[in-house]
């Protein structure tokens, strides 16, 4: 089972040239995400603002998954569960605040929602991560998938919160000074969150912690041999990754104001994974590119045909077969060849 850790190039941090290249690229993306949505909103296309908001939220989830998938080399297929937990951390307290019961958490207060989202996803990540990380490779994939589906079925069976039919959030999380009911404010919150999370992850990936995590991906036995308890590092990364996705779920719940078990289904996890891999898992901004691609494809294809999953699935198969390393991988390969010729 040696082939289960992903065989990929060393991360960008180790080479100066690529760092600046991708750094410039991410800067451009962040610039575009800062300018385009407000322009779209004020020029009378609020629909586009919604798409951008969804994009940024998905990007946060993808970036979160990438910590464990790209940097940790651990293929978690259950991250939609954290998004769901985060979203239900908004819906459940709001539901009880409206209809009574469960006084402990019943509230519209945004800090209660946020705290609950982060706490629940952290606890779930800690418990399941502690079990999942005892295994590797295909076992790890299937177990994370199974735990994700466990949350799906648990929520389906909770009739109080709508079960299969889902739950409408009547009142968004209330924060002092800002109102998430304003779509532009909500977008600004999402965008700022993405920027902060990417910055923190950038610092994290170049820290001792991040380098140890990547070392464990490249050669776990060697890391153990030099005295590193890789299990602890991976578990912490797993928890951070889950918490980021839980946060994305908190935002998603406030954005859609409708939550249902459908958003936890394992195929949703597959979509986030698709973003990470298609964008390029070893680069910090890769998942954001993947999220952009996903949204663009979803809209383009679903405009052509209602059966858009067919071309989408074919594209996924083709990209796995012919585009290892994702879009950024392909671009940097071309760049790499040029560099070799010049050097």
């Amino acid at each position: 089972m040696a082939d289960t850790t992903m065989q990929q190039d060393p991360p960008p941090a180790t080479t100066r040239r690529r760092l600046s290249w991708t750094g410039l690229f991410s800067l451009l993306i962040f610039l575009a995400l800062a300018i385009l949505p407000p322009v779209a909103f004020y020029s009378g296309h609020p629909f586009w603002l919604d798409i951008f908001t969804r994009l940024v939220i998905l990007a946060i989830a993808a970036v979160g998954l990438n910590l464990i998938l790209g940097y940790g080399g651990l293929v978690s297929f259950g991250h939609a569960a954290y998004i769901g937990l985060g979203a239900y951390a908004v819906g459940v307290p709001a539901y009880h605040a409206t209809y009574g019961g469960f006084d402990l958490i019943a509230s519209y207060n945004g800090f209660v929602h946020l705290g609950l989202a982060l706490l629940v996803s952290a606890v779930f990540a800690l418990i399941t991560g502690a079990i999942c990380l005892r295994t590797r490779g295909v076992n790890f994939i299937m177990i994370t998938m199974a735990f994700g589906q466990m949350i799906f079925y648990a929520i389906v069976s909770l009739e109080t919160y709508g079960g299969d039919d889902g739950l409408t959030i009547d009142v968004r999380s209330e924060f002092p000074l800002i109102s998430l009911d304003n779509p532009l404010t909500l977008y600004t919150v999402c965008y700022t969150s993405l920027a902060i999370i990417v910055f923190l992850l950038y610092r994290l990936s170049n820290s001792r912690f991040g380098l140890t995590l990547q070392g464990a991906r490249s050669n776990e036995e060697r890391m153990r041999a030099i005295g590193v308890n890789t299990y602890h590092y991976q578990l912490i990364a797993f928890v951070i990754s889950g918490v980021i996705c839980g946060y994305a779920g908190f935002l998603l719940g406030n954005f859609t104001t409708f939550i249902s078990p459908e958003m936890i289904d394992w195929t949703r996890s597959g979509e986030i994974m698709f973003m990470v891999i298609l964008g390029g898992a070893t680069f910090l901004c890769g998942p954001i590119i993947g999220a952009i691609l996903f949204i663009v494809l979803e809209h383009l294809l679903s405009e052509i045909t209602v059966y858009w999953h067919l071309p989408f699935g074919l594209l996924l198969i083709f990209s796995v077969l012919f585009l290892p390393g994702g879009i950024i991988g392909a671009v940097s390969r071309i760049g790499g060849k040029k560099g070799q010729r010049n050097g």
């Binding site: 082939d3 059966y307 067919l310 074919l314 796995v320």
Partner: protein, 307 residues
Amino acid sequence: MESSLLLIQLLNGLQLGILLFLLSAGLTLTFGIMDFVNLAHGSLYMLGAFLCASLTLYSGSFVLAVLLALPLTALAGFALEKIVVRHLYERNHLDHVLATFGLILCLDTLAHLIWGPAGIAIPLPDTLNGQVELLTGVVVPTFRLLIIGTGLLAALGLYLLVNHTRIGMLIRAGASNRTMVGALGVDISTLFSGVFALGAALAGLAGMLVAPIAEASIGMGNDIIITTFVVIIIGGIGSMKGAFLAALLIGLIDTLGRSFLDDLFKLLMSTEAAETAAPAVSAMLVYLLMAAVLAVRPQGLFPPLSR
């Protein structure tokens, strides 16, 4: 009365277990021999159900439809292996997962295009549609007994095939060292295609057996594939014996949990609390079992020796 209900639920559990085994057998084969993770296995289950439903409505005979749909599902598996899957053997598991996820999207949408969004129910012939009184007070539908019987026969056939034939010998040899088997002059490529087709046929058979009870529907495979994963994780990935025992275990625990957990909870807590907690816990029961098994034995209950 209570004991007859228990007996009926035991049979239901056994039936679910048998179906799970048919599904996990194919996954175990493809994983054990080709080291390939196939998420799209559930789509073959769905394909079997739809093919059988169409053929039943067309020919008017359920039995004939099964006999025709089985080779057709195997053929579909064979074609999938030739077109997509074989290019993935040299890749890592992540690529397997992504590509077969794409495959699911394609197959589900194709089924949607061909058979429409609604499910198709399969009418059963009268001979299979009746009920049998096994003991006094224990009345079970004939078809459920047929499912159990067919599944056990398939399991026996698989056991004989793997352990007592030349093909089975090659399969076992391939599982322990495929490069060596290839070097000894065995056509590995055909062996792999054949094994994949066999797995597809078993999954399809499970779909055909389920369809008359639950109807053939889009996405039916995506629900059951995760439970199948739980089965092979608990059994120990790559172990046929583990898959069989774990499938029965999961089938029984899931069924019994759903029917008796609320009664059990009512002994421990208030009726109201029990009625809220029991469905949630019984929905999570097999996953909790998986967690418990993994916490003690990360490699599963019966890990294959060669791995």
